[in-house]
Structure formats: C-alpha cells, structure tokens
C-alpha cells in the first residue's frame, strides 16, 4: 500500500497542488517557510483525519478562502486503489470520504492507512511532563488493542468522578469514605489491566528501541526506557487505600496509573536533563522507527513514514545511513523534507534507491 497521488486545494499555503509519488522515497526540498511541512501534514490528515501540528481544522484553510480539500489515491495492489478525501469548509463539519462514501465516525478510518511521523515537535515527548509520554505510548498501544482504549476511557471517567467527590467532601463535608471506595472499585480492574499492558508492551518494544538507537547513534551509547508506576511496588487496591488521607487533603487522586511515567535515559543519565540536542534527536528517531517496526510486526503491513526536517543537527554520514535504512525492503513508502538540495542529491548518488525529488517554492511544487 502506498500513496500514489495527492491533490490539494487551498490547504495552508497551497492554492492547488497535484503530485504523483514514488513507491519508495520522496523528498521535498526547499527553503524554510515554503510549505514542505504542509505537504507532510496533508499526508498525515489522510491517515488520521486531523493535522499533526494544528488541532483547529479551520486554521488550515488558506487565508481568505472558504474551504480546503485534500484528495489522496492509495494503491493497494496492481489494480486496486482507494481514494480518500478530506474537505473542510469554514464553520462547517469536516467531511471525510473513502471511495466517495462519507464516514459517520472518523474513528472508523484511523488505522486503515497507518503512518508514523518524525518531526522536530516530537521533542515535547522528552522535554515536557509525563502526560505527553503517556499519551504517546497509549496511542501506540490502543491502535492494536480496543480493550485497552476502553479501559483508558473508563478509568479516566471514574477518576474524574472520584476527584469531583474528593473536592466536594473537602468543601462541604458530608459523604463518607465509603462513597469514595465505590469509585476505587471502578478504577481497579481497568487500572490493573492498563498497568499490565504497559509493562508487557515495553518488554516487547524495548529491544526494538535499543536496536534502532544503536543504529542511529552508531552504537556509542546505551539507551533505556524505565516504566515508572506506583503499581510496581504496591497492589493498586492497597495503593488507593493508603493514599486516601493524602487524596482528601489534596482534593484529587494522587495514586494510580494516571501518574505513570516513562523515563528515557542515555548511558544511565536522564535524557530530559542531560541529553544533548543531538542525543535527544537520535532518541526520538529511534523511538519512531521502533514504533514503525512494532506496527509492522503486529499489524503485518508497513506504515507510511514521514521524516519532517530531522536532518538538521545530524552529520551527513548518519543522514546517509538513515536513508539507506529506510530505503531497504523492510520499509515502505517514505517522505522526507530537507532544506539542503545538495545533501539529498549527494546521498542518492551514493546509494541506489528508487526516489523522487520535489522542489518546493512558496506554495508551488515542481517534481
């Protein structure tokens, strides 16, 4: 499966664009701010029904226009193709179509054309709080596990109730600890399952991650992801019971899987606090490549891979190695953006991989 054609109308800085892609590697080259990343985002839209960068759909309409449209054609095999369209009019509901039929629920579409994106904004995963990391790993796990997703939703619903109750007890008194325990009961099962699945996932994921990090960093450093959860030391039921005094004082639930974190470290030191920009970049690339391989081995097909602007801060040799890696048969279709046309040309002179290069200039693409 690969994206064969992409047609844009009034999407971000593009009035129109009509592109045909290679089955392997596609490079968008051009200066900063000409719209390379917007092309990536259009491809992301077709897989996830939303932008990777801007959650407000309307803001992706070209200034002064009334609507944007993204049309993609995916080739499944020799003669079978799927057409996917996303149309957003100003102040109207987003329309999403597959083979000319509107979706009732966007969730039905997500997962049909799997995609992994690597972008500079991923650094939030390392630099920001634990919520970003939980969101990322939860996203990866729930793609393959609907029960996990359901558990997450139920857990967070029960947690909201429990917090509301703690707040109300603090403000008005009245209700007993017994009424808190009935909410504990709702959190126990899903919480326990989420903990076990996160543990299991990391066990399967870590070897891939280690492998790719060695590749990207050329084996000079060891990397680790430590899953931190209060549930590791104490049974969840005990944990909730023993923290009830603290919860009442704080007016929210202080213990549970909503406090979990995933700590990245390089050579034994926290990547967040001590990692250099280059190390953090290598770590994120390795993380996303592992996500790619995890998807491939669990789902059995190769996601589309987007490398948005990741070659800065990496030396030329490493960039060459990365391109060689994703050009191999284990990988499917790849999209790359870069500001330096010479670098890209040089790489493809050294390795023979099917590719197309597109020169992007202010909302116009020449292939």
């Amino acid at each position: 499966m690969y994206l064969q054609k992409l047609k844009l109308t009034n999407f971000k800085n593009y009035e129109t664009a009509d592109l045909g892609f290679s089955e392997k590697i596609n490079c968008f080259v051009g200066d900063n701010g000409v719209g390379k990343t917007n092309l990536m985002d259009a491809i992301y839209y077709l897989s996830f029904c939303k932008s990777y960068f801007n959650p407000q759909d309307m803001m992706n309409i070209r200034h002064t226009e009334d609507a944007f449209a993204i049309h993609g054609t995916y080739l499944r095999n020799e003669n079978q193709s799927d057409s996917v369209s996303c149309i957003q009019r100003r102040n109207q509901k987003k329309l999403f179509r597959m083979n000319k039929k509107d979706y009732d629920r966007l969730a039905d579409h997500i997962g049909l054309f799997p995609l992994v994106i690597v972008s500079p904004s991923d650094s939030d995963l390392i630099s920001l709080g634990s919520e970003e990391r939980r969101k990322y790993f939860d996203g990866v796990i729930s793609q393959f596990d609907k029960v996990y997703l359901d558990d997450l939703l139920n857990y967070s619903r029960a947690l909201q109730h429990r917090n509301a109750l703690l707040k109300s007890i603090a403000e008005h008194g009245g209700q007993s600890i017994e009424s808190i325990e009935v909410w504990d009961q709702q959190m126990l099962e899903p919480g326990q399952r989420i903990f076990e699945k996160r543990t299991l996932f990391l066990k399967e994921f870590y070897p891939l991650f280690q492998n790719y990090f060695e590749f990207v960093s050329e084996g000079r450093e060891a990397v680790n992801i430590e899953y931190e959860s209060q549930l590791r030391n104490l049974e969840f039921k005990e944990l909730l019971r023993s923290s009830i005094r603290k919860d009442l004082a704080m007016r929210y639930t202080t213990a549970g899987i909503h406090k979990d974190d995933f700590m990245f470290s390089i050579s034994g030191y926290s990547a967040k606090r001590f990692g250099s920009q280059g190390q953090q970049k290598s770590l994120l690339i390795a993380l996303k490549l592992s996500q790619f391989e995890y998807t491939r081995t669990t789902k059995g097909y190769k996601p589309i891979l987007l490398f948005d602007d990741i070659f800065d801060k990496l030396d030329e040799r490493r960039v060459g190695q990365l391109v060689k890696l994703v050009g191999a048969d284990d990988f499917g279709q790849v999209f790359i953006t870069d500001t330096q046309p010479d670098r890209i040309e040089k790489i493809f002179k050294q390795v023979e991989i099917e590719h197309r290069i597109f020169n992007v200039k202010n909302g116009a693409v020449a292939g």
Partner: protein, 203 residues
C-alpha cells in the same frame, strides 16, 4: 429577539422555550397554533398541565409517578412482591413493562450516583431501598441500571449495602441484540458477550 407584536405572545414564547427540546422558533409556532385552537381546548390543556404538577403523587413504595399513595403495580395482587427491579427513572419502568416479561415490582432511584454532576447517594431513594431490603420482603433484587461507569458504580454501591442480607442479587444481561448479526456488533459488546456467555439449554 423582542420584536413580537404582543407582550402576551412574547411571554408565552419565553415560557414554552424553557421546555426541553423547544427552541424559540418552535415555541413561536406552538404559541401561534394555540391561538388558532378553540378556547375550551386550550383551557383544557392548561388545566391538565396545572393538575399534573399539583396533584401528581409518588408511590410511597416504589417512588414511581402515581395518582394514589400506592401505584397500580405495587397494589396489583398478581405481581410478585418478593422480586424487585431497580431502575434509574420512570422511563425505564415503562420500557420494561412494555416487554410484558416481568411480573415483579420496581424501585425507582430517581437518578444515578455522579459526583461530577453533584449527585450523591443521599440524593437518591437508596435509604428507602435498603430499609425495604432489611425488612426481609425481597428474595431477589435485579439491577437494571445503565451500562455506564456511573450505572455500574451505583449498582456496586447498592450491592455493598445489601450483600450481607442473603438476598439473591442479579444484573440484567448485556450483549448481542436479538436478531443481530455478529459482524455488526461492536467489538466491546461482542467481547463482553463472549466473557459472559450462558450455558446452552437444550432438551
């Protein structure tokens, strides 16, 4: 907004549009419709609404809406008073009654526990339910509450309160709808149905 030609009309529209599901346009349509009706019919409508609000009673046994102290179901000698079905509100009673499959009585909670919306156990008719259960009149309690976190929590709360009483406690079955193809069932329902499968009953 205030461009109605009559203050009387405006006030009627304002009141009607407070009803659930009625916007200002529908309210205006209803008001104009009432103006065209015979005055006796409109008087009857007004009277019946006032009577409804003033004279309605709640059954002292099961808390359903009733014209008397004790509702028709609770006073029906043919109903099995030892089996009670716990529901959220009166609409659930009507739904279950329409099935004609149930011969026991009901207990209406008047809501479900939801701290987010500020509904605590004391806002429901739980105390009365527990009193009735403690008096020993029930053999079986059937929980027919919504299949949501809030519904499950309410059921669990009741269970905790009465589990020591030697009463059979059951939950209505959840799973595949009758006449449904499995392929159209959502994954969660289907998964739950497999976990909660029932023994096949042949001859």
């Amino acid at each position: 907004m205030n461009s109605y030609p009559s203050k009387l009309l405006e006030s009627a529209v304002n009141e009607l549009s407070r009803l659930p599901g009625i916007g200002r346009k529908s309210a205006l349509r209803l008001a104009l419709h009432l103006l065209k009706e015979r005055i006796e019919d409109v008087e009857f409508l007004g009277q019946s609404i006032i009577k409804l609000r003033k004279e309605i009673q709640y059954c002292t046994v099961c808390h359903t809406i009733s014209d008397n102290d004790i509702c028709q179901i609770c006073s029906d000698p043919r109903r099995d008073k030892t089996t009670v079905c716990i529901v959220q509100d009166i609409r659930d009673v009507l739904a279950i009654e329409n099935t004609r499959q149930y011969r026991g009585v009901y207990h209406i909670l008047g809501g479900i526990i939801s701290p987010i919306e500020g509904i605590s156990p004391s806002d429901l008719t739980l105390e009365n339910l527990i009193e009735k259960a403690e008096s020993g009149i029930f053999n079986e309690i059937i929980m027919a509450l919504p299949s949501t976190i809030e519904g499950d929590t309410t059921a669990y709360y009741i269970y905790k309160k009465i589990k020591s009483l030697q009463i059979k406690i059951s939950n209505i079955a959840r799973g595949i709808s009758l006449g449904d193809e499995l392929e159209y069932a959502d994954e969660l329902t289907l998964g739950r149905s497999i976990l909660n499968r029932t023994l096949y009953q042949g001859d």
